[in-house]
Symmetry: C3
C-alpha cells in the first residue's frame, strides 16, 4: 500500500458530484499523490466530447446517447436542478467566487498527470464509443480498477 | 490490514448502483479477494424475495414495504428511469451485450462465497423481516461492518 | 496508517444518507476510533442552525440559502420523500423503534469528540456563512481532508 496513491470511482454524472471528485483528485495530485479516476455509468457523460459525433449504434444505445448530457459543460446538479436552472445558478456562483469550472478542473487533472480511465463495460452498456470521449483516456475494466485500488490508501466511490 | 479483503456498503437501491456494487464485488472475488457486502436502507430491496410474504407489521412498516420494490428484478435506475422504462431499456441493452443480469450477479456472488450482511437497524426501521429476504444472508449491525472494514484495504459506500 | 481512524465525507444532504454517516461515525467512535467527518455541498445543510440567521449575501447565495433545508430536523429522504411525507414517516418509525433522531445522533457525535469539518469552498459556493452553522465545527478545505484521510484506514464518501 502506498500512502501517496488515491483512486476515485466516478459513477455519478451530476455536476456537483463530478466536481467534488475533481476537487479531491486535483487536491491530492497537487500534494504529490498519484491519482486514478475510474469513470463508469453516468460518470462517463462528464468525459463526452461536446459536439455530436457520428457513430453507428443500435437503437437503444442511440436512445441513451441522445438523452444523456454531452460533456462536462452540460451536466445538471443532483439537487434543485429545476430543469437545468440550478446548474446554471451554481456555475454563476462558482464564477463569482473564482472557483474553476468543471472543464477547467478536467484540464488541470490532465496537466497534473491524473490517470483517467473509462469503464469499458459501461461504455458497452450505454453505447458510448471511444470516438465520443475526450482524448487522453485509458479504457479498461473492473480488474484494472481493483489493481489500482490495491495500491492506494484512499479509495472513494462517488 | 489485509490486501485481499474488500467491503462494500450497499445503501442505494437502484439497479445501476447495486449492479456496480456486484461488478466490483464479483471482480474482486474472482481475483481471490475476500469480499463482504453490507446491505442497508434501500440496498435491502435488492435482497427481498420477489414474492409477497405474509408478515405481521405495523402500519408504517407495511406502507414502506408495500411501496418499495420487491427484489433485484424490480429495481429502477438512478437516472432517466421514467417510471421504470429506463430500467427496462438498461436490462435489454445488458442482455444484448451479454452482461449478466442483477439476479445472476447475486447468484455468482453467493457461489464465490461473498459474505452478504443485511443491516438489522435498517430492517427494523424499514419493517423488513428475515423471511422477506433471500436465504443465505447474515444479519448484523454497524459494529460487525466496522470489524470487517478494519481488516480490508478497500472500503466503498455505494 | 492508523487502524483506529476513520473519515467520512458527507456530501449528500438527505436524512437517510446523513443518518447512515452518523451511525457509522458514532459506532466507530464508540469502539474507540478517532473519526473525522467532512461536510461538503448538500451535507452542510445538516449542520445549519434551524433558525433564520440574518446575513448579508449576494442574490444567488441568498436563493440557495432560502431553498435549502435549515438543519438536521428539516432534511428530506433520498427515495419516496413525497414532498416531505416520507421523511415524516421515517422519523415516526425511528421513534417507534427507539432509534435516535438525527439531531440526537449529532449531539452524540459531539459528546464522543468526533471532529466535524465544514468545507470552506462549499460554504463559499452555497453562500453559507459560519454564523449559520451550529457551533463546534472546524472550517477547512480539501487539503485538510486529505491529511486526515492519509492517517485513516477507512474513508467513505456518502
Amino acid at each position: 500500500m502506498d500512502k501517496t496513491k488515491k483512486t476515485i470511482i466516478v459513477f455519478s454524472g451530476e455536476l456537483d458530484k463530478v466536481m467534488a471528485a475533481f476537487v479531491i483528485a486535483n487536491g491530492a495530485a497537487a500534494m504529490g499523490d498519484e491519482v486514478t479516476m475510474f469513470f463508469t455509468f453516468w460518470g462517463l457523460n462528464a468525459l463526452r466530447k461536446p459536439e455530436k459525433i457520428k457513430v453507428q449504434k443500435g437503437f437503444l444505445q442511440a436512445m441513451f446517447g441522445w438523452m444523456m448530457p454531452r460533456g462536462a459543460a452540460r451536466l445538471g446538479i443532483s439537487n434543485m436542478n429545476f430543469g437545468g436552472m440550478g446548474a446554471v445558478m451554481m456555475k454563476m456562483v462558482m464564477k463569482q467566487r473564482n472557483v474553476d469550472s468543471l472543464p477547467e478542473m478536467i484540464q488541470t487533472a490532465r496537466e497534473q498527470g491524473i490517470k483517467m480511465i473509462a469503464c469499458t463495460m459501461s461504455m458497452d452498456v450505454m453505447g458510448i464509443t471511444e470516438e465520443e470521449l475526450i482524448d487522453g483516456l485509458e479504457l479498461a475494466g473492473v480488474a484494472t480498477y481493483l489493481s489500482e485500488a490495491d495500491e492506494a490508501n484512499v479509495n472513494l466511490f462517488i
